[in-house]
């Protein structure tokens, strides 16, 4: 009986991890387009027929992707399984993009059903594709998860080891943040979004950034996660790693905005704050992926 309940809770845990892994893959793949105003416009002017066609086309693509990639750790996938997973990938995409679009104030009450639906559907297409390739993303080192053992000698000199590991983590976060956010920093979306976002929403956006970063690195169980747990350095604790890497990502976002002259010394401080937090979301997603990949 005990074994039975353990397995039931185990089954829920595995399911949660599968779904979060899917969502994480979706964020990695979909976040650049969530910050693209042309996609919002295409969505807002799309007719219902176009939306249906978009959904059907995405569904077919997802079924094909799920047969080879997918977001579940399962073997022997039949066509039926692939179709069922495609429904789930689409739903994960729709839910996550709805949340982000609401946070970015792109979907709100005033904007009628048609416009909201169009934006959500057109943004959820790349997101769902990301869900369906979640297993493939960052799985380069999936086979040598024992590779973490190579770090053992470092442990003999704890202080130097800690410093090196911390530097490596910061470096990976920086690279990842640049990788994703560099495409977004020079565009007009950040000033546009900043105009519509009030302080409570900024707070919600930064909390969501932390949550997504935590989910990608510590829950989603991408390939490198086993060795992550053995990682040394001050980034060791999941919570402190998440917060520290968010701060690194924010600094990177700020640097990129300054580099592209989106911010200047004469701008008021709240503009600096809102721009940085808005670009901080994609930067954090990239930074989290970077720490798994590097």
């Amino acid at each position: 009986m005990h074994k039975g309940t353990a397995q039931v809770s185990n089954q829920w845990q595995r399911e949660l991890k599968d779904v979060i892994r899917g969502a994480s893959g979706g964020f990695l793949f979909g976040i650049p387009l969530l910050y693209t105003m042309e996609v919002w416009w295409i969505g807002s002017t799309a007719s219902p027929l176009r939306m249906l066609i978009a959904l059907v086309a995405t569904f077919v693509t997802l079924v094909l992707l799920n047969r080879t990639a997918g977001f579940r750790r399962a073997q022997g996938i039949q066509l039926v399984d692939a179709a069922m997973d495609a429904v789930e990938a689409l739903a994960i995409g729709i839910i996550c993009t709805t949340v982000v679009l609401i946070l970015l104030r792109e979907v709100r009450w005033e904007s009628g059903i048609g416009e909201a639906l169009g934006k959500i559907i057109f943004e959820s297409i790349p997101f769902s594709l990301g869900v369906a390739v979640a297993n493939q993303i960052l799985s380069a080192r999936s086979d040598d998860s024992q590779g973490a053992g190579t770090q053992a000698p470092v442990g003999q000199q704890p202080d130097i080891g800690k410093l090196n590991a911390t530097l490596a983590d910061i470096g990976a976060t920086v690279i990842g943040a640049i990788f994703i956010a560099f495409n977004i920093a020079p565009t007009d979306e950040i000033p546009m979004l900043a105009a519509a976002v009030s302080p409570p929403w900024l707070l919600a956006i930064s909390l969501t950034s932390l949550l997504i970063s935590y989910a990608i690195v510590f829950v989603a169980e991408f390939a490198d996660q086993q060795s992550r747990k053995q990682q040394r350095g001050i980034f060791q604790q999941p919570l402190s790693e998440t917060i520290a890497s968010y701060l690194v990502s924010l600094v990177m976002a700020l640097g990129m905005l300054w580099f592209f002259q989106q911010l200047s010394a004469s701008d008021p401080w709240h503009m600096w704050l809102s721009y940085t937090i808005l670009l901080g979301l994609p930067a954090t997603v990239g930074g989290a992926a970077g720490r798994l990949a590097v």
Binding site: K3, G4, Q7, V8, Q11, W12, R14, E15, L16, D18, V19, W41, S44, T45, P48, L49, M51, L52, L55, A74, Q75, G76, I77, Q78, D81, M84, V87, E88, L90, A91, I92, I94, I95, E110, S111, G112, I113, G114, E115, L117, G118, I120, I121
Partner: protein
């Protein structure tokens, strides 16, 4: 049934994949979300009037003083069945039939049922003159 599926043979997943109860729950929720979205699209389709765009500008609240100037908020909404772009809102302040100040504003997109807000700034007090707000033009995307 699910208990048997999970405890019975955990290692025989190579042949055929058995869905656990948790996976069925996810699938159920996902199906509901998808059906909900499809339902909304069809509802929107049916509810959409097949009329051209109907644009209306309304003044919101009283004129406010903003430093040297007067602020008049407006709300433009589309009650028709067509999405339009580059909506041009024009405001004219008249005294004695003569236009003393005019202003214009462009709204990027306005889909059916959508409304957008903005404001005009005047040097003269709009409460002591005749204010006309109207939509002058728009494009069809």
């Amino acid at each position: 049934m699910t208990g048997a599926a999970t405890t019975g043979r955990p290692n025989e997943k190579q042949q055929e994949r058995e869905r656990t109860f948790a996976e069925w729950v996810t699938f159920g929720v996902a199906t509901l979300v998808l059906l909900g979205v499809l339902g909304l699209i069809i509802y929107d389709w049916r509810a959409l009037p097949s009329s051209p765009a109907m644009l209306e500008v309304q003044r919101v609240g009283q004129a406010e003083r903003a430093g040297e100037q007067y602020l008049v908020h407006f709300k433009v909404s589309n009650s028709g069945g067509e999405t339009v772009g580059t909506v041009q809102v024009v405001a004219e302040l008249r005294r004695g039939g003569e236009v003393i100040t005019a202003g214009e504003q462009q709204i990027d997109f306005l889909s059916p049922g959508e409304s957008e807000e903005g404001a005009f700034l005047f040097k003269d007090d709009p409460d002591h003159a005749e204010l006309e707000l109207r939509v002058a033009s728009y494009t069809l995307p």
